[in-house]
């Protein structure tokens, strides 16, 4: 075992994972937020009730979500090429991860927004506040604590997705563990990658919990 060679490789794999996860989190986080808000507000009885839009979004989310990521990665090949310009590498992986994660974010956002007391929305309506303002100044702030926890949960899911990015040559910790550890029957290398992932996930979870606690004042 030569850690003087493996060490820098592990470090760059960690960097690749962090890059893919953070870019995906920002992109899927924002697009998923929009889709999730869309699902929530167009739901029956809500402030922008619209059965057609709700049904379309709901179907789309239900269509994409159950696809295992490794299959989505392959299935999106053509689309990835036309958007990113290549089917390989970290940016191609980010494209597929963003598609996969967006719909997971959308569901998490929708579910957390549904915990907001309809009474506060009614109070804001009674003040003559516009619907778009109600979304940005009432619904999202009221759900912020649970949303932070939802996003924290999601970072872990995205990290999980990134482990498969090696399949299209995007590197990362998953690729490191599979190629240099598993395929060479080298458990020590596999576990080194696992430990780094555990530490990353712990840090994210710790920060997410701390932030949510601060927001919810508990």
């Amino acid at each position: 075992m030569d850690w003087s060679v493996l060490g820098p490789q592990l470090l760059s794999a960690t960097g690749q994972t962090l890059y893919m996860v953070s870019v995906t989190l920002v992109l899927a986080g924002l697009i998923g937020l929009l889709v999730g808000v869309g699902l929530y507000v167009t739901r029956r009885g809500n402030i922008l009730e619209n059965t057609a839009v709700f049904t379309a979004l709901n179907l789309l989310v239900n269509f994409i979500r159950p696809i295992p990521f490794i299959i989505l990665l392959a299935a999106l090949g053509q689309a990835t090429e036309s958007v990113v310009g290549t089917r390989l590498g970290p940016n191609a992986a980010i494209f597929a991860m963003t598609i996969g994660a967006t719909f997971a974010v959308a569901r998490i956002v929708e579910q957390n927004l549904m915990t907001v007391d309809p009474g506060v929305v009614e109070a804001a309506r009674s003040m003559g506040v516009s619907r778009s303002r109600i979304i940005t100044t009432v619904i999202l702030p009221e759900a912020l604590g649970p949303l932070v926890l939802g996003y924290t949960f999601l970072v872990i899911g995205i990290t999980d997705m990134s482990a498969m990015a090696g399949a299209i040559g995007a590197g990362g910790l998953g690729d490191f563990a599979l190629r240099l550890g598993y395929q060479r029957f080298n458990d020590e290398v596999t576990w080194a990658a696992v430990i780094v992932i555990i530490i990353l996930v712990q840090l994210v979870q710790f920060f997410g919990n701390w932030l949510a606690r601060k927001i919810m004042r508990r």
């Binding site: 007391d117 009474g119 506060v120 109070a123 009674s126 003559g128 506040v129 100044t137 702030p141 009221e142």
Partner: protein
């Protein structure tokens, strides 16, 4: 005369109905939550709407600020038609109508001051003016020292006071109070009602108050409407409604607080203890029941007061007494006839 009365009218319901359709296509369910209501609410009054749950009173008040659109009829607030308006068109009307709720509906993500400031921000007030108004309102509701607290740090009564301050922020003409004291204990209820009375007297704000408690009506309302199955079955000055309830629902509500009329098991007990004929006699300011009874004593009629009470509301007394009359049949009949000349008398069936 008509012009004058319409000038003083703040909310005008004309044949207003609200119909909910639900259920499935095969078995549609139509609910007349509000059924052809015609009602005028006058500027400056405290107007109560009472009814059992499901009577439609909450729906009725939500029609006023357009939270629920009306199905038919017409509805005006301060001269503006509320019906047929879009959410956007309703915004300026809603800014002139404050609303408070049973569950307070405060923003948990904002402080007390933040909650009160919120409607001012949305209405585009400048930061300096907002801060000044918030300070003023906090003082008015007595929560100056709680400005930086969050709603979960407050008691129910304090939360409702924040709700009131928030509803008053943009100087409304009208305050809608939807079961605003139903989640509070009796003592806190009185405190909140006291504050609402000040809102009405000191700020001249008209209040429409929804409740299922006759006690709340008695302690605060100038006028009251009684609702049953979506209809307004009775409306009048509170003291009149208490003294002479007309509708069956109203009688039930009045007796729930007055307790001057014996109920089933009480009638049985009264009857066991008093062998004579039992009559229920309404007591009001003008009648002289005592003098009639003492005159009848000369004909050999004796009486005993078996149940009842007399109370006072807005400086008028009213109540009901259950009397047991003893003596020769014709003399007792005669006494009942004479009492009927001055008040309402009901004989308790044997």
């Amino acid at each position: 005369m008509i012009a004058e009365s319409s000038e003083r009218t703040l909310v005008r319901f004309r044949d207003v109905s609200k119909v909910y359709t639900g259920g499935s296509k095969r078995a549609p369910r139509v609910v007349n939550a509000v059924d052809t209501v015609t009602l005028d609410i006058t500027k400056g009054e405290i107007f109560a709407v009472i009814g059992y749950s499901g009577a439609g009173k909450s729906t009725l008040v939500r029609l006023i600020n357009g939270l629920e659109p009306i199905s038919s009829g017409s509805l005006e607030v301060a001269g503006n038609r509320v019906d047929g308006k879009s959410e956007t068109q309703l915004a300026p009307i809603r800014r002139k109508i404050g609303m408070i709720f049973q569950q307070f509906n405060l923003f948990n993500s904002r402080t007390v001051a933040g909650n009160i400031e919120y409607p001012l921000k949305r209405a585009g007030w400048k930061p300096k003016e907002r801060a000044q108004r918030v300070t003023e309102l906090l003082a008015f509701v007595g929560l100056t020292d709680r400005a930086k607290n969050y709603p979960e740090q407050l008691s129910g009564g304090q939360k409702q006071r924040v709700g009131i301050a928030r509803a008053l922020a943009s100087n409304p003409e009208l305050l809608l109070a939807d079961e605003s004291t139903s989640a509070l204990d009796p003592e806190t209820t009185q405190e909140v009602l006291g504050l609402l009375r000040r809102v009405n007297r000191e700020l001249g704000i008209t209040i429409v108050l929804i409740t299922h408690e006759m006690d709340v009506v008695r302690s605060i309302a100038d006028r009251v409407a009684v609702m049953d199955s979506g209809r307004v079955v009775e409306v009048g000055a509170t003291s009149d409604v208490f003294a002479h309830p007309q509708a069956e629902t109203t009688r039930k509500f009045v007796s729930s607080v007055m307790r001057t009329v014996p109920r089933g098991h009480e009638i049985a007990k009264v009857r066991r203890e008093h062998p004579g004929r039992l009559i229920l006699v309404d007591v009001t300011d003008q009648n002289r029941i005592g003098s009639v009874l003492s005159e009848c004593a000369r004909d050999g009629v004796t009486f005993e007061i078996a149940f009842g009470g007399i109370s006072m509301l807005q400086s008028r007394s009213f109540g009901t007494l259950t009397l047991s009359l003893n003596g020769p049949d014709t003399a007792v009949d005669n006494t009942i006839v004479r009492l009927r000349e001055i008040t309402k008398v009901e004989e308790v069936a044997r």
